[in-house]
């Protein structure tokens, strides 16, 4: 009996976790990344990677949820998050990296890395729009 009760409780907890409301994903701002003590280029690249990883996690969580009004609402919210973060990369991160210095060569590799993260985010955003 005890086992069945525990199993039921465990299943319920899993169900609740998988269907819990999707949290808003907001990544770090350029300002906070610039507070890094060194290697701004690397810090910016890592911030973009972490941002993609977090958004993408929500993307796959949402993909598994059955179609419903709730899901459409969550998709719309995630689209807003993706658009905001892509905008941040385009308007804040890229121009900053171009200005960092190092005779224009300090951030070259990390610039290319962030281009990848921005592209991946854009891919997810396109898929999200089709998911609706």
């Amino acid at each position: 009996m005890k086992i069945y009760c525990l199993k039921a409780l465990f299943s319920l907890a899993c169900l609740l976790l998988s269907h819990s409301a999707l949290a808003k994903v907001e990544c770090v701002s350029l300002r906070s990344v610039l507070e890094a003590d060194d290697d701004i280029c690397e810090s910016l690249s890592q911030a973009a990677e972490t941002c993609f990883a977090r958004l993408n996690k929500e993307f796959y969580r949402l993909e598994k949820v059955k179609k419903s009004a709730e899901k459409v609402r969550a998709i719309n919210e995630l689209i807003v998050d993706y658009e905001r973060e892509i905008k941040k990369l385009n308007e804040d991160f890229f121009p900053t990296m171009s200005k960092v210095g190092g005779d224009g060569r300090a951030c070259v590799d990390q610039y290319a890395e962030i281009e990848v993260w921005a592209n991946e985010m854009q891919k997810d955003l396109n898929d999200l729009k089709q998911m609706k």
Binding site: D37, S43, G101, D103, A106, A112, E120
Partner: protein, 195 residues
């Protein structure tokens, strides 16, 4: 009168408590200022040409604040309230930090005082000097590496495992679980369940 005394006592106690909580752990604070080292914890060594230039700079009275950093030390710096990059060029021995004026933080000046070709930039009061200068070829390599990492992130997230992705490809929580010793209470609990 008594109420005022109580309030004053409460205020003093609160300030003391805040002071106690915000004072850095002396052991940690002591370990934070390790300055410039060529090698650290057998984890990294500053490139020979960069190190030679750093020694030359020190002789000329320039302060070199940071050189090689081991992953442990980099992590420790975070505990001390600094924000070093997790994959900093200092960790591969390709960067050092100098105290020079922003005007002198350029490759021309640094080469004049004995540095090899570098890509320096001024940030937070110091000149970050790195030998890792990007080229079209290195950018292509970095792009390819990131694409592979992006695929790993996707695979990890698609699998629905808990925790957030990190560069080791494991979640923080699962990493903790791997190193943690099994708790006796947990063993008792699960053996109870199995019964």
């Amino acid at each position: 009168m008594r109420q005022t005394q109580n309030q004053a006592f409460f205020l003093i106690a609160t300030f003391l408590l805040i002071g106690l909580c915000t004072t850095p752990d002396s052991a940690v604070a002591k370990k934070c200022g390790r300055g410039c080292q060529r090698t650290m914890d057998n984890a990294c060594t500053v490139e020979a040409r960069l190190w030679a230039a750093a020694e030359q700079a020190i002789k000329q009275g320039i302060r070199v604040t940071s050189c090689c950093r081991s992953p442990q030390y980099n992590a420790l710096l975070r505990q001390c309230g600094y924000f070093p990059a997790k994959r900093s060029a200092h960790m591969s021995g390709q960067a050092i930090d100098l105290i020079v004026s922003p005007r002198n933080c350029n490759s021309g000046y640094l080469q004049r005082i004995g540095f090899p070709p570098v890509c320096p930039y001024y940030h937070h009061g110091h000149c970050h000097v790195q030998t890792r200068c990007g080229t079209a070829a290195s950018a292509a390599q970095a792009r390819a590496k990131s694409q592979k990492r992006a695929q790993k992130v996707r695979d990890y997230n698609r699998s629905g495992r808990g925790g957030d992705w990190n560069e080791q490809g494991r979640s923080r929580s699962s990493r903790r679980r791997n190193y943690a010793t099994p708790k006796p209470w947990a063993e008792t609990f699960w053996s109870e369940v199995a019964r």
